[in-house]
């Protein structure tokens, strides 16, 4: 341990330099501190998968009381905003212009075929936005279904053929099925990925480009010290972000935090280290700021947003994509953090995912110091 004071002195000097460099450039802090706040507000308020009442054109080609009554049933759904339209031509025009999401058409023979029990309603959906279209289909189906049920009851029920099955639905962890609750915990993952990979990826690349890294090599500084000194200031920024995200989730969006706060904080710091290291690795490999920024964008942000289970459910993707997503550290942290926020402490999962993250820390530390050492030749 003779070397200990030397290490401490060198680290302190490097650390001071990195902190100064970080504080001097406003753009750094803008991304480090402003971007997370911006993302929190955008995701919390801007993105919503909850379809608000969808505009639907209703065409009554049959003006009998029963079809009117039926159509009125659509109005009962709080998810639909029906508008009566005189004929199909007009309805189609509205749909082509994107003014309505669907057309519900009651054909001329609707009431005549209602009694024998083979009446049809035509539902035309605008498939350009397939998610909304599917939701609207469900709402229309639900409205019609409950109307039929009421109609049946009014006719004295059909006890001869037996009762009916009713679904009692309970959504655990998110009783209201609110998409903000589902997106906001994932924000922590996104923010930490961005801070880490994007800010740090430029660090070493810049020194390569300017030649200052080579001057460092003639000093007694060792690669690991360099890595640590570069990581430390951004650790600080990252921890500020963890706190911001947690506060926003709790106070702004009222997302419950059911798991223990300490586990969330520790897991977040672990992931922060992974993502900072990933940025440094990119930085060391790319050696130019342009390449580093491109690689960081491609390796971190897009996959974290698209393939980690943040927005899209990984259960629905092909096996190959599942394998790709399992390689991403973001996926493991994402599933852990969503569980910790909404479900609570699941120790089996906490242990498994934290071990995976620790493995990434080890592998990435090794790889990063190696890219720096190799350059000495």
């Amino acid at each position: 341990m003779k070397d200990e004071p030397g290490f401490r002195r060198r680290f302190a000097a490097l650390f001071r330099k990195e902190v100064r460099q970080m504080l001097r450039d406003k753009s750094n802090l803008a991304v480090g501190l402003l971007l997370p706040v911006m993302l929190i507000l955008l995701f919390g308020y801007g993105l919503s998968f909850d379809v608000p009442s969808a505009p639907v054109a209703v065409v009554l080609e049959d003006s009998s009381p029963s079809s009117r009554d039926f159509a009125a049933g659509l109005q009962g759904s709080r998810y639909l905003a029906p508008a009566w339209v005189s004929d199909m031509t007009e309805a189609e025009k509205l749909m082509r212009a994107g003014k309505v999401d669907a057309i519900v058409r009651f054909p001329a023979d609707f009431s005549r075929r209602l009694a024998p029990g083979n009446a049809h309603i035509q539902l035309l959906l605008n498939g350009v936005d397939s998610t909304t279209a599917s939701a609207v289909e469900g709402y229309v189906g639900g409205a019609i279904g409950s109307w039929s049920q009421r109609q049946l009851d009014r006719l004295g029920g059909s006890s001869a053929s037996g009762g009916s099955v009713v679904v009692v639905q309970r959504m655990w962890f998110n009783e209201a099925g609110n998409s903000t609750w589902y997106l906001v915990p994932g924000l922590l993952v996104l923010v930490l990925t961005l801070i880490g990979a994007f800010l740090t990826s430029l660090l070493i690349a810049r020194e390569w480009e300017r030649g200052t890294l080579e001057s460092l090599f003639v000093t007694p500084v060792r690669p690991l010290e360099l890595v640590l000194a570069k990581l430390a200031p951004y650790m600080g920024v990252g921890i500020i972000n963890v706190v911001t995200c947690l506060l926003a989730a709790r106070l702004l969006f009222k997302v419950p935090i059911r798991g223990s706060l300490w586990v969330i904080v520790i897991a977040s710091i672990l992931y922060l280290v992974v993502s900072l290291l990933l940025g440094l690795l990119i930085s060391g490999v790319a050696r130019s700021q342009f390449k580093a920024s491109q690689m960081a964008l491609l390796a971190s942000f897009m996959p974290a947003m698209m393939l980690s289970g943040f927005v899209f459910d990984l259960r629905n993707v092909p096996v190959v994509i599942q394998i790709v997503s399992q390689v991403l550290p973001a996926t493991h942290f994402m599933s852990l953090i969503k569980t910790l926020f909404l479900a609570g402490d699941d120790w089996a999962q906490i242990l498994r995912n934290c071990t995976i993250l620790l493995l990434y820390v080890a592998v990435l530390t090794l790889a990063t110091t190696r890219t720096l050492r190799k350059s000495l030749d």
Partner: protein, 370 residues
């Protein structure tokens, strides 16, 4: 006339130099075109809201013919896969907490009896709400299966809904997401590329040299803008080809109109990039500011969630977002087969953004010297 020809060759030389600066390094070449291809494939498969696999568990305490029939219908969809058959209600929490099942169907012991005596027989559906979209979709699916089941039992037939979906017959979310990617994925890189172009020269000190050449700021602007626009269009083409021929999503509109929209969109995006570049003092700043902007542009574009679902104030903000209109033009031309008259109005914001940012950056070239 010869002045005009000279001006042309001057710009051509600058463009050639810019392109060389971007693609001279083999690694940079790869990074400009390979990721577009890779992301188109990955996201084509990965970015889906469609329900294809719902692992579920059953707690059947009635064990009658009716519950067996109901479960058979669920399994028959091919979407629901039974992963566990539970013996007691205490096990429900375990399978859901551990992520083994997305849904538990609990059928009480009096289910058969209630049905036979003409009463309402409740089935409990417990869903994992950690992913509320998937849970909601699964619940909707179960609901429609039960409705069908009831209709058949009551024999009334009732009212059937004939569904038809325009532009996307099977309502696949890939059809809706991928055309938008033609614009979105290329923007990521072109905006950064443009943002770096001037900043790099500033950092290396060559921009001052460029300013003392006979080139006018307008010529510098064109020389800087065109290579990025070109690369953006090539990336869009790669993504377009993957979508059209690999994923076989049919194109209903005119390819020319789509490219017209993409060209205009790229002009607007590159204009923003160049303005950032002219404002930044270093590459690092240019990149970070570009990145700061890319995020809201992506999120407020209607790519992932419809613009209509956003609060009014954010909807207003989307009017200055070129990606919103780029996505809209590509989606509508590609899927709906929209003609020029339908999408012309989307060109206006793009034109406006380009008309403001391009001259602004040309002016900044001269008036902001580091």
């Amino acid at each position: 006339m010869s002045a005009f020809v000279d001006a042309f060759w001057q710009i051509a030389a600058l463009i050639r130099k810019e392109l060389l600066a971007i693609v001279k390094d083999p690694a940079s070449r790869v990074i400009l075109f390979a990721p577009a291809l890779m992301q188109a494939l990955l996201f084509g498969y990965g970015a889906t809201y469609d329900l294809t696999n719902v692992p579920y568990a059953v707690l059947d305490q009635s064990r009658g013919a009716a519950s067996v029939e109901l479960l058979a219908r669920l399994d028959g969809t091919g979407v629901f896969h039974r992963v566990a058959t539970l013996a007691s209600p205490r096990q429900i929490a375990n399978v859901i907490d551990a992520n083994d099942a997305l849904m538990v169907l609990s059928i009480p012991s009096d289910f058969e009896n209630l049905l036979a005596t003409g009463q309402q027989a409740p089935v409990q559906v417990i869903l994992d709400g950690r992913n509320s979209s998937t849970a909601g979709a699964a619940a909707g699916y179960v609901g429609s299966i039960v409705t069908d089941y009831n209709n058949e039992r009551s024999g009334a037939g009732g009212v059937t809904i004939e569904r038809r979906a325009w532009y996307n017959p099977n309502l696949e979310s890939r059809w809706n997401l991928m055309p938008a990617m033609i614009a979105a994925l290329s923007m990521l890189q072109t905006l950064l590329l443009a943002a770096l172009s001037v900043a790099r020269e500033r950092e290396q000190g060559t921009f001052d040299q460029l300013l003392v050449t006979p080139l006018t700021p307008m010529q510098i602007l064109i020389g800087k803008a065109l290579p990025s626009i070109l690369i953006g269009l090539i990336q869009s083409t790669i993504i377009f080809l993957v979508i059209r021929f690999w994923f076989q999503i049919p194109m209903n509109g005119s390819v020319w109109l789509m490219y017209g929209g993409l060209l205009m969109f790229n002009c607007a995006a590159v204009g923003i990039g160049l303005s950032i570049s002219a404002l930044s003092l270093s590459m690092q700043q240019a990149m970070l500011y570009a990145f700061l902007l890319i995020m809201p542009l992506m999120l407020l574009s209607g790519l992932l969630t419809p613009v209509r679902n956003m609060p009014a104030i954010l909807q207003l903000a989307t009017y200055v977002n070129p990606l919103r209109f780029g996505v809209s033009i590509v989606r509508r031309v590609y899927l709906e087969g929209a003609g020029l008259a339908d999408v012309a109005v989307d060109f206006i914001p793009l034109l406006a953004v380009a008309a403001v940012t391009m001259p602004l950056s040309a002016w900044l070239f001269r008036n902001r010297l580091a």
